[in-house]
C-alpha cells in the first residue's frame, strides 16, 4: 500500500535548513494498522504530511498503491487526497459554521456528488459513528469525543484506502480515547489501511505494528 524509499525532507528555517526526515524507509501492507511513535519534534507529523501528500519531500521515493508520488501538481494531489486518503487530526479541524452532517458531507462536495445524495450518505456515516441524533448540531455544541467521531465519519465518507490520523486521541481523556480507538479499530477491520501517530503507549499497543521515529530516523521496525 505504502512504500517509502530513503525519503529525505528538509525545512528551510531562515538561512538554515533543518533535516527533518533522514533516509526514511517504510513499507506498509494493505490492511495494516500501524502506529508511529517518537519524541516531540522527531518528525512524526512531517512524515504523516508526506504520506498524506499535504507536503513534498526532497529526496527518495514515495509509492502509494504502486504510483510514485512525486512533483504532483496541486490538482492531482487534491484528487489523491479526495479519492484515496482520509485525515483525522488532533484538533478535529471541523468547519465551525457547518453542522455535523455538512462537515461529514464536505469531501463529497469536492467529488461533485449532488447535495441531496451527499446529505443522505452523510447520515449513514453519522449513524455508523453513533451520532445520527447530532446531525444538525454545530461542532461548538459537541464534546471532544463527538467532534472526533464527526471527523472520522468525514474521513470515511470518501471511501479512502488509507486513513492517516495525527494524534487522534491527543485532545481527549482516556475514556474517550478508548472509544475512539475502538472506532478506529473497527474501521480498520473493514479492510482500510490505517496509520496513527501517537504519544500514548496504550494507543500504540492497539495497533499491529509500532514504528519509532527518532530525530527523523526510523529507529526500530521489527
Amino acid at each position: 500500500m505504502v512504500r517509502l524509499d530513503k525519503i529525505n525532507k528538509y525545512y528551510r528555517v531562515g538561512a538554515h535548513s533543518l533535516h527533518v526526515l533522514r533516509d526514511v524507509d517504510l513499507e506498509i501492507e494493505p490492511g495494516e494498522m500501524v502506529s508511529i511513535m517518537g519524541a516531540s519534534g522527531s518528525g512524526k507529523s512531517t512524515l504523516l504530511n508526506v504520506l498524506g501528500i499535504l507536503d513534498g519531500y526532497e529526496r527518495g521515493e514515495y509509492w502509494l498503491d504502486g504510483t510514485l508520488m512525486r512533483d504532483l501538481n496541486e490538482r492531482k494531489a487534491a484528487h489523491y487526497r479526495n479519492k484515496f486518503l482520509g485525515f483525522v487530526f488532533q484538533s478535529f479541524n471541523l468547519l465551525p459554521f457547518k453542522t455535523a452532517a455538512e462537515n461529514v458531507a464536505l469531501p463529497l462536495y469536492y467529488q461533485k456528488v449532488p447535495r441531496r445524495k451527499r446529505n443522505r450518505i452523510a447520515m449513514q456515516y453519522l449513524e455508523r459513528v453513533g451520532l445520527l441524533d447530532w446531525a444538525e448540531h454545530l461542532p461548538s455544541e459537541m464534546s471532544g469525543g463527538q467532534k472526533q467521531r464527526v471527523a472520522i465519519a468525514r474521513a470515511l465518507i470518501g471511501k479512502p484506502r488509507l486513513i492517516l490520523a495525527d494524534e487522534p486521541t491527543g485532545a481527549l481523556d482516556s475514556e474517550t480515547s478508548h472509544q475512539i480507538m475502538d472506532l478506529l479499530t473497527e474501521i480498520h477491520q473493514t479492510g482500510i489501511t490505517m496509520i496513527v501517530v501517537t504519544h500514548e503507549h496504550d494507543v500504540a499497543a492497539r495497533t499491529q505494528r509500532v514504528i519509532h521515529l527518532k530525530d527523523g530516523r526510523v529507529e526500530a521496525d521489527p
Binding site: 499535504l54 496541486e74 485525515f87 479541524n93 469536492y110 467529488q111 449532488p114 447535495r115
Partner: protein, 415 residues
C-alpha cells in the same frame, strides 16, 4: 451555477453580516454614482438636443445686414435686403439641397408687428410667415391634415394658407376640419389647405404659412425676402462652411458688396453649431464615465481588500478544504464567485436606487431647455451589468489567488 454553489456562497457571506453589508454598500454607492451621473449627463444632453429638434440641423440661415467694407463705389453702412434674385441664384447653386426664403408680414395695427388672423367673429394675433415650399424641410414641419404649400401655389399667387394646430383649434374649434374654409390674414382672405404640427413646441405652432409670392404681392413686399435658409445634405462642417462662403459670394455679386464683408450677410451655420454642441456633450459624457468608473474602481478595491481579509481569516478553513480534496481551481472559483455575487447584488441595488433617483428627478423637475428625460437607457443598464461582473471578478481575483496558495500544512498547524 447550481443551487448547491449558491447555498455555499450564501452561508459564507452570512457568517460575517456586517462586513458583507459594508462591502456591498461601497459597491452599491459606486454604481449609484455612475447611474446618477450618467443620467444627469443624458438629461443635460437631451435638454439641449430638444432645442435642435425643432429645425433641420444640417441647415444654413442667412440674414441681410449692413456693409462695413467700402466696395464698388458704395459707402459703408449700406443696408442690404434679399430679394427673389438671391433665391434664384441660390437655387441654382451646387450643394444646396432644400431652399426657402421667408418674408414676414407686418401688421398694420396700432402696435405695428402683430398680424390679425380672423375667421367670422373670432380673431387673434398669430405669427404669419410667407415661405417657399421647401420650408417644410427646414422647419421640420409635420402635416396632420391636407398639404403644405407647393410650387403651383407660388406660381399662381394662390391665396392659400397652412395653419398650426392651435390656430385651427382657436379659429375652428378643437379637432374641427378647416380644410377649404377661408380665414382673413390682415384683411386678405386665404383658403386653408393644410394643418401642421411641429416638435419645436407651442411657439412654433401658433403660426400661419402663406405662399411667399402671394404675400409679397398682397402685402406690398415687392420681391423682398427677409431671410434665406437652405439645407446642405450630409455635408460636414468644412463643406458646409464652403457652401456658406459660396452663398455669400453669390450675394456679393448680386448686391455689389465685398465678399469678405462679414457684416453684410450674417450667417448661422447650424452644422457647425450642432457639431460644437455634440463635441461638448461627448466631453461631458467622458467626464461622467471617468468619475463613475473611478467610484467603481474604489468599490472594487474595497471589495478586494475585504475579501483579502476574509481569506486570511479563512486560512484554516481553506486548509481543511484542501486536505479534503479541494483543488486550487475550486478554491479560486469559490472566492471569485463570492466576490461576483457580492458585487452583482450590491451593484444591482445601486442600479435600481440610481434609476429611482433619476425617475424622481424627472418627475419633480419639469422638462426645460437644459435638462429633460434623464432616464437610464437599456445600453447603460447592460454596460453597468457588464461592469459589475467584471468588477466582481477583478475584486475576487487577488484574494482568490491568495486563497489558492494557502498551504494546507501551515493552515492546519496553527491552532
Amino acid at each position: 451555477m447550481s443551487l448547491d454553489r449558491w447555498l455555499e456562497i450564501l452561508s459564507t457571506l452570512g457568517r460575517n453580516r456586517l462586513r458583507t453589508f459594508l462591502t456591498m454598500l461601497s459597491v452599491a454607492w459606486g454604481i449609484l454614482m455612475l447611474v446618477v451621473l450618467q443620467g444627469a449627463g443624458q438629461g443635460l444632453s437631451h435638454g439641449t438636443q430638444e432645442q435642435f429638434k425643432d429645425d433641420a440641423v444640417n441647415s444654413i440661415w442667412m440674414f441681410a445686414g449692413r456693409t462695413t467694407i467700402p466696395y464698388g463705389g458704395y459707402p459703408v453702412g449700406r443696408r442690404l435686403t434679399f430679394d427673389n434674385g438671391d433665391y434664384d441664384a441660390l437655387r441654382d447653386a451646387p450643394g444646396v439641397e432644400h431652399l426657402t426664403g421667408r418674408y414676414g408680414i407686418r401688421g398694420g395695427g396700432f402696435f405695428g408687428g402683430e398680424v390679425i388672423v380672423r375667421r367670422g367673429d373670432k380673431s387673434s394675433s398669430f405669427d404669419v410667415r410667407s415661405v417657399h415650399p421647401d420650408h417644410l424641410y427646414l422647419e421640420k414641419t409635420i402635416m396632420v391634415a391636407g398639404r403644405f404649400l407647393n410650387q403651383r401655389d407660388l406660381d399662381g399667387h394662390r391665396k392659400v394658407a397652412v395653419i398650426g394646430m392651435p390656430v385651427r383649434d382657436f379659429l375652428f374649434g378643437p379637432g374641427a376640419d378647416p380644410m377649404g374654409q377661408w380665414i382673413e390674414v390682415n384683411g386678405v382672405a386665404f383658403q386653408v389647405v393644410g394643418v401642421f404640427t411641429d416638435e419645436g413646441g407651442e411657439g412654433e405652432l401658433r403660426k400661419v404659412y402663406l405662399p411667399i409670392t402671394t404675400a409679397q404681392r398682397a402685402f406690398g413686399g415687392n420681391d423682398r425676402i427677409n431671410m434665406l435658409m437652405f439645407t446642405v445634405g450630409d455635408a460636414d462642417v468644412a463643406e458646409s462652411q464652403a457652401l456658406a462662403d459660396q452663398a455669400i459670394a453669390l450675394m456679393a455679386e448680386h448686391h455689389d458688396f465685398a465678399p469678405a464683408d462679414k457684416q453684410a450677410v450674417r450667417v448661422r451655420n447650424n452644422v457647425e453649431a450642432f457639431d460644437r454642441f455634440n463635441k461638448i456633450f461627448k466631453i461631458i459624457e467622458l467626464f461622467v464615465w471617468v468619475i463613475g468608473l473611478g467610484t467603481i474602481v474604489a468599490g472594487i478595491v474595497g471589495v478586494s481588500n475585504i475579501m483579502m481579509i476574509a481569506v486570511k481569516e479563512r486560512t484554516k478553513e481553506i486548509g481543511v478544504r484542501k486536505a479534503l480534496g479541494a483543488t486550487p481551481s475550486s478554491i479560486i472559483t469559490m472566492i471569485v464567485e463570492e466576490a461576483v455575487f457580492l458585487t452583482a447584488i450590491a451593484g444591482y441595488v445601486g442600479l435600481v436606487a440610481g434609476v429611482a433617483i433619476l425617475q424622481l428627478v424627472a418627475a419633480v423637475l419639469p422638462a426645460n431647455d437644459f435638462f429633460s428625460d434623464p432616464t437610464v437607457d437599456l445600453g447603460l443598464a447592460i454596460k453597468a451589468t457588464v461592469i459589475l461582473i467584471v468588477a466582481g471578478a477583478l475584486a475576487g481575483y487577488f484574494p482568490a489567488r491568495a486563497a489558492a496558495r494557502v498551504n494546507p500544512i501551515v493552515a492546519l498547524r496553527d491552532q
